[in-house]
């Protein structure tokens, strides 16, 4: 039994979440082979070989792997799959796009987005946007599993020296063509991975008032979130939406401002390590999940918050 871990990278370096996926893989089996598919990605294969938990690196390079098109990746993974009991990848958009394409051809029911490894065939995964945890056991002999990266610690990234084996590339899938990628170049961390998230809800009253949220986010180097109510009211664009129909976030600190705490919002943030709620309505359901609740008018509280944060910065300096 051994695990084939599909590494996520950008042809230059391993994506950070690959390290979390390796940790999860190591809880399934200690014989982990990392698969690096890309173009001119020798550095990535080297980085993967330095992960102490990785026993072997398989590297496949070709021009048509440059942009991580799942239609190109799946056939080579399927070909390698016969030697492995588990195919594992992190459950971000790369893995979500790729893994089912592999699982279907292997006639395997994929297990998506696991948060815990109970045994090599039994896993815990959230369903209903994290409102319930399901323990599932697969009866498939070959198991395709994607990992929720934030549920596993990153593995050690140096000290290893696994051998790197090159494998011949597969054919190009010509019906899918990459055109361009526009990476959001923001000084602000990405909502899905930010350490701190500051979110506003309908209590913000209008889009202009979100500048209060922005000011706090600037101070805390935080991503900006919003409730569906705020998005539906047009205060802020949909890509900021946290909740069952938006993004699920698990930051160290989540600050909910003027958010009542509808079920659909709670589903997207209640796994955060520390939750702060600022709301005028002391009965708002958001307080039931908040570690620190402040019953206050946000238009008074937020300026004070900025002032207090400024004081802290002064002390630190």
């Amino acid at each position: 039994m051994s695990v084939l871990l599909i590494a996520e990278h950008n042809n230059k370096e391993l994506k950070a979440f690959t390290l979390n996926a390796v940790t999860a893989a190591s809880q399934i089996d200690t014989d982990i082979h990392a698969l690096v598919i890309g173009n001119n990605c020798t550095d990535v294969a080297k980085a993967a070989s330095q992960l102490p938990l990785v026993k072997k690196v398989i590297s496949i390079e070709a021009a048509h792997y440059e942009n991580f098109i799942a239609e190109n990746f799946a056939p080579v993974v399927i070909k390698l799959a016969e030697n492995y009991s588990h195919i594992v990848c992190s459950a971000n958009t790369f893995g979500k796009n790729l893994m089912p394409r592999i699982a279907a051809k292997l006639d395997t029911s994929q297990i998506s987005d696991i948060i815990k490894v109970e045994s090599p065939d039994t896993f815990i995964r959230p369903i209903y946007a994290g409102n319930a945890f399901a323990t599932v056991k697969t009866t498939d002999s070959k198991k395709c599993v994607t990992i929720r990266p934030t549920s596993f610690d990153p593995c050690e990234s140096s000290g290893g020296s696994a051998p790197i084996e090159s494998v011949e590339a597969g054919e190009e899938f010509v019906s899918t063509k990459f055109i361009k990628r526009e990476e959001i170049k923001s000084d602000r961390p990405e909502l899905g991975t930010a350490r701190v998230v500051v979110s506003g809800g309908r209590g913000m009253q209008n889009g202009d008032n979100f500048k209060l949220i922005t000011a706090i986010a600037d101070k805390l180097n935080a991503a900006i979130g919003a409730s569906r109510a705020a998005v539906d009211a047009g205060y802020i664009s949909n890509d900021h939406q946290v909740g069952q129909t938006g993004k699920v976030v698990v930051p160290d600190l989540y600050i909910a401002v003027g958010i009542s705490g509808a079920i659909q919002h709670l589903a997207g943030m209640k796994e955060s390590k520390v939750i702060v709620a600022i709301n005028k309505d002391g009965e708002a359901p958001i307080f039931s999940v908040a570690d620190y609740g402040l019953e206050a008018d946000l238009f008074e509280a937020l300026p004070q918050f900025i002032e207090e944060l400024n004081k802290l910065n002064t002390i630190q300096k």
């Binding site: 279907a104 987005d113 209903y128 319930a132 945890f133 509808a262 908040a290 207090e308 802290l312």
Partner: protein, 249 residues
């Protein structure tokens, strides 16, 4: 051009789900059910493409128990031309659904298959990609913009890093993100008209697809509850707690 749209009936996103006391699953009896939200976006997009004169027929298909038909009926009320209901009871895993859809595709020969990127009940995010794999078709997942060109689609995909644009040749599968469009509401006259549109009934077993689950659901439980928090009396106290107690700022 013909577009097949797959829709799923799920517990409405505004409902607080309840876990069965014996841990065997989620309570669905007497619970408000709706179309899976991104499936509404998939229907909307197909209907818009037809309204723009770029498609000739929109067919809505669902796989599920008797009442799943309501989801197809709703699709008909917002502009789909006809429906297909493949009856199957219990948990039908994405792999089985994609095998059923493959049979429907063989029969209907659509140029495009649309569906939501993920169902909000099992959160698997698999069916579109699996169908695309079984058919050896191109896939455009998490689509937030679709441009129909001659025999091709240009699709903007929502990825973790930002946006990615790809071009796929038809026939192809597209899984839709919530950002793709604003689904319309069905008007009363259209709801009445939809009642007259045909829905073909099939059984999963007639299609020769084994829908028996390959994954055993051992138990479903509540996520660990958060410990009771405290109320602070001032912003100054809040900031001090965050700094000195929680140590997060």
């Amino acid at each position: 051009m013909k577009i097949l749209v797959a829709v799923k009936r799920v517990i409405d996103y505004n409902v607080q789900i309840r876990i069965k006391e014996d841990g065997s699953g989620i309570v669905t009896d007497n619970v408000k059910m709706s179309t899976n939200p991104p499936d509404d976006n998939a229907i909307e997009e197909a209907v818009k493409i037809k309204e723009a004169g770029k498609a000739t027929e929109v067919v809505a298909v669902t796989v599920g128990e008797e009442k799943a038909q309501e989801t197809v009926r709703k699709a008909l009320a917002v502009g789909a031309d006809r429906g297909i209901h493949v009856k199957a009871d219990g948990i039908i895993e994405p792999l089985a659904v994609s095998k059923i859809l493959q049979k429907i595709v063989d029969k209907e020969k659509p140029d495009l298959v649309f569906m939501g990127k993920q169902a909000i009940d099992d959160d698997c995010n698999q069916t579109g990609q699996m169908l695309s794999s079984l058919l050896d078709w191109p896939q455009a997942t998490f689509a937030s913009k679709i441009d129909v060109k001659d025999g091709k689609l240009e699709v903007v995909r929502e990825i973790d890093e930002g946006l990615e644009t790809i071009e796929i040749a038809t026939p192809a599968i597209v899984t839709c993100d919530l950002r793709l469009n604003e689904p319309r509401y069905a008007s009363l006259p259209n709801i009445m008209k939809a009642k007259k549109k045909p829905i073909e009934q099939l059984n999963a077993s007639d299609l020769g697809v084994d829908v028996a689950p390959k994954i055993q659901q051992i138990k479903v439980e509540e996520p660990p509850k958060r410990k009771a928090g405290i109320k602070v009396s001032s912003v100054a106290e809040l900031v001090q707690k965050l700094k000195n107690e929680a140590k997060v700022i």
